[in-house]
Amino acid sequence: MIAHILNLGRRGCDVLEALGRSGLFLAQSAVGVPSREGWYLWLRQMHFVGVLSIAIVLVSGLFIGMVLALQGYTILVDFGAEQALGQMVALSLLRELSPVVAALLFAGRAGSALTAEIGLMKATEQLTSMEMIGVDPLRRVVAPRLWAGFVALPLLTIGFSVIGIYGGYLVGVEWLGVFEGSYWGGMQSSVAFIGDVGNGMIKSMVFALVVTWIAVFQGYDLVPTAEGISRATTRTVVYSSLAVLGLDFVLTAVMFGGFS
């Protein structure tokens, strides 16, 4: 019995210790002006993390937009309010679905790739040899990936929203017969740029920070074996997903819950 409590306590201390390590890690990696070479490293990571995630984000966005319109129509039509489809699709996407789903997809695709890549570099002693040559691996390997994640995910979220709204248009207007004017007009009068688009972007930026941070930290901190890498990639996806969903609730309550 006592042993269980002690074990729990030890686990708790481990968690705190890991949090502390990851905080220091973030501080050391993210600070510092990138050099000219650092600029190119960032660009490269933007490609791997951002450009290569475009496909999954856009396809998912399209389908989610279309499903939203389809489901939304069937519900709204009972109230005779199907002309409000535009604002329903837009608000759902901009406020909630785009930031959250894009972040979850990003964590699964780019986050796990980041963890695996950095973990493999650790396991093959590339990070150590970099240090021995006199280069700080945090600056050269981790920082470009962190900054690429910070920038790429918000951009991907924008893409998700745009294509989702378009998908909703395809289903709602082209297929189900909602008036084109109502779709866009209702949207335009209900969607506030600062309130809805802006808050959605803020959410996305917060998620970008958390997901990328978790991904690179898990890669950097893992046990350098094959099993260690596989466990770390799993942790990245799981922790990122939980963090995104939890933070989403908090942010939604603050932004849209009407509490000041």
């Binding site: 933007m46 450009v51 309010a81 837009a90 951009l155 893409g159 929203s161 209702g186 740029f193 688009v197």
Partner: protein, 154 residues
């Protein structure tokens, strides 16, 4: 350091697409407009009940958008709602003094906007004037109450 032109191009396009997407969201989706400051003139109108009228709501005449609601405040002298309108400068001095402003609803559950109807007064409204003749928003509950009390009295 090998520089891949295609990669740089790809990332550049990605970022450009993001910025364009943001523009799209701003203009097409949330209806941001660029109001040029010199091209509007200001009118005020007081309403007993503004319903769900919001700032940035449209102001129309015969269904054509001619301006926007810029602010809604509580009038401390008359204890009703004072709505500030910005209208196209072209209409300055063209609207009669007895022009009516009514709060209308687009569709059954749509957004509320202000519809102007011209009057016949020879005197015109200028910048800063107040529209005297106003019609408040129809509040559903009051309508129902009216309807019910009418039915009862029959």
């Amino acid at each position: 350091m090998k520089r891949s032109k295609t990669m740089e191009l790809g990332v550049g396009l990605f970022m450009l697409a993001g910025i364009l997407g943001l523009l799209f969201l701003g203009l097409r989706v949330s209806g941001l407009t660029f109001d040029m400051p010199g091209d509007t003139f200001r009118l005020e109108a007081n309403f007993a009940n503004i319903g769900s009228l919001k700032p940035r709501a449209r102001v129309t005449m015969s269904g054509v958008t001619v301006g926007r609601v810029t602010a809604i405040e509580l009038d401390r002298d008359w204890y009703d709602a004072r709505v500030i309108l910005e209208l196209d400068a072209e209409l300055e001095g063209k609207l009669a003094r007895d022009t009516t402003a009514a709060i209308l609803t687009a569709g059954l559950l749509g957004e509320q906007y202000i519809g102007l109807t011209v009057g016949g007064d020879p005197e015109m409204l200028v910048n800063g004037d107040t529209i005297r003749d106003t019609q408040s928003a129809l509040v559903l509950e009051e309508l129902i109450q009216q309807f019910v009390s009418n039915m009862v009295s029959d």
